[in-house]
Amino acid sequence: MKLSLKINGTAREFSVGAETTLLDLLREHCALTGAKRACDRGECGACTVLLDQKPVYACILPALYCEGRSVITIEGIAPPGKLHPVQRAFIESDALQCGYCTPGQILSAVALLQRHRRPSLEQISEAMSGNLCRCGAYPKILRAIRRLGSRQRRRRGA
């Protein structure tokens, strides 16, 4: 079936079957391998992407669900060669070990900071608890997000 959607800002067209997930589409048809396939059943968050700015699990989302919508993957959050502030904060805070969960963690954090410029601890844990980290980098992931929150606050002169 025909499918048109925007991926990282570019309008694309595909022909896919009903069983194709958004993760299949990104990894197999678009060579966008930033979204990871780990559990492949909605139980880890490694495949998190933004669909119309909201984090979703690409591994259990039918690609055809995304008709006419906009998908942002980790490859699309900053211009080529540049880093998004959340990516920089993750590096500065050393918020990763193996890195497998990191694209998903970053996208969840990007969406959170779009919703709340200065997220509370409760808002952070609600937004981030759908992303598991087998390496247990949670304290540093939390630190990266909190630093960004307070930096955004300073920049806005609050």
Binding site: G17, G42, V56, Y57, L61, Y65, S125, G130
Partner: protein, 328 residues
């Protein structure tokens, strides 16, 4: 799975008309896609209802209650100001589901119709649910199974929102294949394994949930949804409870989750009246009443070899929740 068809429905009428045998409704797919991947369902056609105009609408008024389209997303229900103000038990139940990524896609209709999470069934082990002749969980790892209403299948119903909606006496509007509409209470929507084993609802072939209505009677009444899980996020309820107070008669409607193959409504007639007098509430009398109510609520429950903890957990959860109204 190669020949799996996909149809984007433009109305519920059209969708219901397509639900011949072999077709399945697709809403958010958060339950259906894993079931497809595991080969537990093998439809030939997916009828997608997410793009039906108005299917995701949420309208809430104090006098009219809530009207929620079957394809409304759990995030949108949990964040809806009207739902939060007038039906906080429903907002809390929706917020307690899985994770943000799940709630951003999962719909209310899909949540009510989701299949049981029994580990045996989901692993493809033959059992009553999958057309087999036994219940391996009953004789095996039974700690997640039902303490009420079980047999021959003992898998509990996994939905949180259904428990809140049951306490709120919600109604379900169902569209049939011939285009006609029927309405049923949520209490009559679900059935027990002793009634039927192929599904958990009384939906017939060719029927589709179109809308969920919460009556105005409980709008703004004191209410809560409380859920006990093994881990703080991303988990199904071990036991959950929704308590909704009837405003006029001041009696609680209590529904339990995680304890039975369907969301479980307590028979209010079997519960003692709360100790309220003109002069207000005596905290000690209230506490004694809460303990008594919890005991009455679990009467008739039965433990298997290792799920007895759920009985105590449910009693404590009911008592603890009722204690929140100890003082006016």
């Amino acid at each position: 799975m190669d020949s799996l068809g996909f149809h984007r429905a433009s109305s519920f009428e059209e969708a219901a008309g397509l639900l011949h045998s072999g077709a399945a409704v697709l809403a958010g797919g958060t339950d259906l896609v894993p079931l497809l991947k595991d080969g537990l369902v093998k439809p030939s056609l997916l009828v997608f209802i997410g793009d039906i105009p108005g299917a995701a609408s949420i309208s809430v008024t104090r006098r009219g209650g809530a009207r929620i389209g079957a394809a409304a997303k759990l995030t949108d229900i949990a964040n809806n100001p009207g739902v939060r103000r007038l039906f906080p038990a429903l907002a809390e139940a929706c917020r307690s589901v899985g994770t943000l990524q799940i709630r951003n896609v999962a719909t209310l209709g899909g949540n009510l119709c989701q299949r049981p999470r029994c580990w045996y069934y989901r692993s493809g082990i033959a059992c009553f649910k999958s057309g087999g002749e036994s219940c391996p969980a009953r004789d095996g790892l039974d700690e997640a199974l039902a303490i009420l209403g079980g047999g021959p299948c003992w898998a509990v119903h996994p939905s949180d929102p259904a428990v809140a909606l049951l306490a709120l006496d919600a109604k379900i509007t169902i569209r049939r294949a011939d285009g006609s509409v029927r309405e049923t209470s949520l209490a009559d929507f679900y059935c027990l394994p002793s009634d039927r084993l192929d599904r958990e609802t009384r939906l017939d072939a060719g029927e589709i949930v179109e809308r969920i209505t919460v009556p105005a009677r409980y709008a703004g009444s004191p209410q809560r949804y409380a859920k006990v899980t093994q881990r703080a996020a991303w988990d199904f309820a071990l036991v959950s409870a929704a308590v909704v107070w009837e405003k006029r008669r001041f009696r609680p409607r209590i529904a339990l989750g995680g304890v039975a193959p369907r969301p479980w409504l307590l028979d209010t007639a079997r519960l003692s009246d709360p100790p309220v007098s003109r002069r207000g509430r005596d905290p000690t009398a209230w506490e004694l009443w809460a303990i008594r109510t919890a005991e009455q609520a679990l009467r008739g429950s039965r433990a298997l070899s290792s799920n007895g903890y759920k009985i105590e957990l449910a009693k404590n959860l009911i008592r603890r929740t009722l204690l929140e109204w100890r003082r006016v």
